[in-house]
């Protein structure tokens, strides 16, 4: 494999939470030895539920948080060595909330052109021209260029956020739940737009979502996270066809589509919601796992390669192991 665009090596991140003003701090392990690669023009999906560490991962890859352990390499060079503006040229975010992430007092044109202005790219007329061209590409009507964000719909605001992310020609865009606040018909427009832009600009994406059907639609490869750990990763289609980790199977069973009228399934989940301040011993998923055995509470499974594709999973008794597949 050629050198990846972005490589993260064994990232761990611990937040120190303080109970009360003078209380002692409690560590919250948000990420635990997470590694990943993203190639040029590739979309890597990250799926998991609240508290799984996916947003912390996004912040670290954007350089907004320094990992407690591990490092991030961009084009083979540590992200921490990049001057801030150079890093921002290469990696750009698109966040969930199109209401909170745009300065309400700026016009759409200025918002889109801001990265060019900050990086001192081109003259003012050139920047305006480039902003207008970018607006065309993301499907914003020209008349919206002079508008403020408050005059736009949620979908249009997200188009502004995407145009702003792409205008300076980044190699990687970190999308953190980019369509979660949007209606489905608008979500479809934005997902189509992101795929078009990927094809046109060969930009790679880390695509974070809690919605498995969106990940399945968008991602070439995917990672499933649970309580700060990667429990399964590999090619999206392969994972969907045959999940290896019981948690992946549970997530797949909890995915509801309009064509499946089979009633609400019993996911077989045990116990209560996972707490990142109290991470279980052994396999992190064992207290809720429908297939847990006594050993799962003692031994922490490593993320291991299975079979001959690039799939890896962290389970002592993976679903696709020969002895677990019913004859």
């Amino acid at each position: 494999m050629s050198k990846p665009l972005l490589e993260a090596r064994s990232l761990s991140h611990i937040y120190q939470l303080r109970r009360g003003l003078l209380g002692k701090t409690i560590p919250l392990r948000a990420l635990n030895e997470v590694s990943l690669n993203i190639g040029d023009g590739e979309i890597l999906g990250v799926v998991g539920e609240s508290g799984c560490g996916k947003s912390t991962l996004a912040k670290i890859l954007l350089g907004l948080e320094k990992p407690t352990e591990g490092e991030v390499l961009l084009n083979g060079r540590p992200l921490s060595d990049y001057p801030r503006h150079e890093r921002a040229m290469a990696v750009q975010p698109v966040f969930q909330d199109p209401y909170g992430s745009l300065n309400p007092s700026m016009s759409v044109e200025d918002l889109i052109a801001l990265p060019l202005h900050i990086h001192k790219i081109g003259t003012r007329p050139e920047r305006r021209q480039k902003a207008a061209k970018m607006a065309d590409q993301v499907g914003l009507p020209r008349r919206t260029l002079s508008a403020n964000p408050s005059q736009l719909s949620g979908g249009q605001r997200q188009r502004v956020a995407i145009a702003r992310a792409l205008v300076a020609g980044p190699k990687l865009v970190i999308c953190d739940e980019p369509t979660s606040a949007l209606d489905v018909s608008v979500q479809a427009q934005i997902l189509n737009l992101l795929l078009d832009l990927r094809a046109e600009h060969d930009v790679a994406m880390l695509f974070i979502s809690h919605d498995l059907s969106v990940i399945q639609h968008m991602a070439d490869r995917m990672m499933v996270m649970y309580l700060g750990r990667v429990v399964e990763e590999g090619g999206t289609q392969s994972i969907f066809a045959n999940p290896d980790h019981p948690y992946t199977l549970v997530l797949r069973n909890a995915m509801f589509t309009p064509s499946d009228e089979s009633g609400v399934p019993d996911l077989g989940l045990r116990g209560n919601f996972p707490n990142p301040m109290d991470i279980p011993s052994g396999c992190v998923f064992h207290p809720r796992c429908p297939m847990a055995r006594p050993e799962c509470a003692r031994t922490s499974p490593a993320l291991e390669r299975r079979g001959n594709d690039d799939r890896r999973s962290a389970c002592l008794f993976p679903l696709t192991a020969p002895e677990n597949v019913p004859a």
Partner: protein, 329 residues
Amino acid sequence: MLLQVRDLKVTLQDQGQRLRAVRGVDLDLAAGETLCVVGESGCGKSMTALALMQLLPRGAELSSSKLQFDGIELSKLSRHKLSALRGRRISMIFQEPMTALNPVFTIGDQLRAVYRRHTGVSSAEAQARAIEVLESVGLTNAELRMKQFPHQLSGGLRQRVLIAMALMCEPEMIICDEPTTALDATTQAQILRILKEAQSARKMGMLFITHDLGVVARIADRVAVMYAGRIVEHGSRAAVLRSPAHPYTKGLIASVPRPQDGGTGSKRLASIPGNVPAFHHEDPRCPFLSRCPKRMSICTREAPPVRQTEAGQQVACHLPLDAQEALTA
């Protein structure tokens, strides 16, 4: 019929303008039945739910030719009689469990208060009932939970407490407004199972408001599709989801990413261009007119007639899709 609604209209005040949020909605709900009202933001589905409970925001105007629960005309009830009905015979569950619970009282205080208010029983009896109901919605350590405050519970647990509160008095009808939208997928599945079990055990009528067609497919008996304040299509779950007759319904279903897509990101999703219009004036024409791919000249002139399709649903369209068209993407 448990619930009968005819020609429901809600008008809101929006920056000095009259905004017609609900523009003539008819609904029926039988005991033990689940009716899903599905639509995107701004379609009027939440306002419809609030109108049924007579809980509209200040300045809202409501009119209807019929708004009956079990033969009682809700719009004519006194405030006193209405609040005796709400929480006892009709309950409601909202999307955001944090705002629906009072942060300064314990879960136990709030559950007991609801029950005692409607039944006048002793605190001890209310306590026993609350624990029983909390356990029935899958809460472990119910006695401990009773002593906790809302902020000490996760979103999924809070939503279970709200469901428990709604079920305390064994209502005949429950109105759910996006009760699982803010929850994780696995929690959503668990909450929906609890709701469906509670419903079938008590033969409750359930009016379920959602934007999620995947949820509709799993829980609905009948579906009403709302767009810009109107119901554009209404019928059995199978009819509406498998052979949508209104171009909007078809577009909405097609815009959901599906497993059959192959998922390599190669196949484009069908999307509906444009945005939902707001209606400040009465307009009898089809609300989907401006975005419809099948628009004809008659659509710009005349109100769409309501027709019955072969599959049995009602559709308000000049040119409803036939079963063949509905299937082709």
